[in-house]
């Protein structure tokens, strides 16, 4: 960590990462500002896809594919189902933002300023050499099933609980006694 390459001569990986990050941030901004409910879900797809590209650039291949499968595939489909089941209006709706929007913008700007300042100040000299293959499915799978088995099993119990909970909550013919 002694010699840190200059910020003025970015490598190709950094340029690609920054472009993907700009896409992700722009799509996220559109998610929280768009006036059409369904478009918010679709911009979420763009944001998550760009983030998957970021993971790929950071050599985390397996996480990238899991991101594509679960977030882009399942989570956004679930959100669209939720939008449909609550009869979300297609097209523009005027009242998507609540009354505390200026305060929210202020809080978000303050959070962004604080976090970016701290992060830049703290990690200015941090540099990671990217070596491909560290995030491959083989490495990650052997790590999960060797060192992280117990959290993995606990997570499967959590998923089962969430599944049963979602079914019980959304069925109308299960009554309490």
């Amino acid at each position: 960590m002694a010699e840190v390459p200059s910020y003025l001569s970015p490598t190709g990986q950094e340029i690609v990462f920054l472009l993907l990050g700009a896409v992700a941030v722009g799509a996220a901004l559109l998610v929280v500002t768009t006036r059409q409910l369904v478009h918010a879900a679709l911009w979420l797809v763009v944001c998550f896809g760009a983030l998957a590209g970021c993971y790929l650039v950071l050599t985390a291949e397996f996480v990238a594919w899991v991101q594509v499968l679960i977030y882009v595939g399942a989570v956004v489909a679930l959100l669209l189902f939720g939008l449909m089941l609550t009869r979300a209006p297609i097209g523009r709706s005027a009242d998507l933002d609540s009354g505390n929007r200026p305060v929210a913008a202020l809080v978000a700007l303050a959070t962004a300023a604080l976090l970016v300042t701290v992060v830049i100040d703290g990690f200015r000299t941090a540099y990671a050499d990217l070596t491909p293959g560290r995030g491959a499915a083989k490495e990650l799978g052997s790590s999960i099933f060797r060192n992280w088995v117990l959290p993995f099993e606990a997570l499967s119990v959590l998923l089962l609980a969430a599944l049963i909970g979602a079914i019980v909550l959304s069925r109308t013919d299960i009554r309490g006694r």
Binding site: V31, T86, A104, L115, W148, L155, S170
Partner: protein, 135 residues
Amino acid sequence: MHIVYPAVVSALLFSIGVYGVLARRNTILVLMSVELMLNAVNLNLVAFDVWLRDRLHSGQVLTLFVIVIAAAELGVGLAIVLGVYRNRRSVDLDGMRDLADPGTEPAGIPGDAAAESATTPVAAEAAARSGEAKP
């Protein structure tokens, strides 16, 4: 790769998520913003795992765990939102003021008007329920 780049991108994504949670009125849009915040955390985890070259791959494994937990959270959250919609015919967060102090209704927010004037949708809901129970 300078670690500052992923860290800054993730900080910006997190703040956008904070804005969405605070400013949006529709519950499902708030859930989307929560997902944005979780993704910001995931990007941080991956970046620092790559930087620190963890032998156990804690960062990436924890990212996978966070993704799974986010999916579970979203499933239960959407079930709750659907329950709220069934009972109130609306998923507006500003309208859910049952636990607020009486007399603190802020101006300009259409409080329970949507839920109270929902006399006609009740019939529709009953029809939907009977249709639902048939299969």
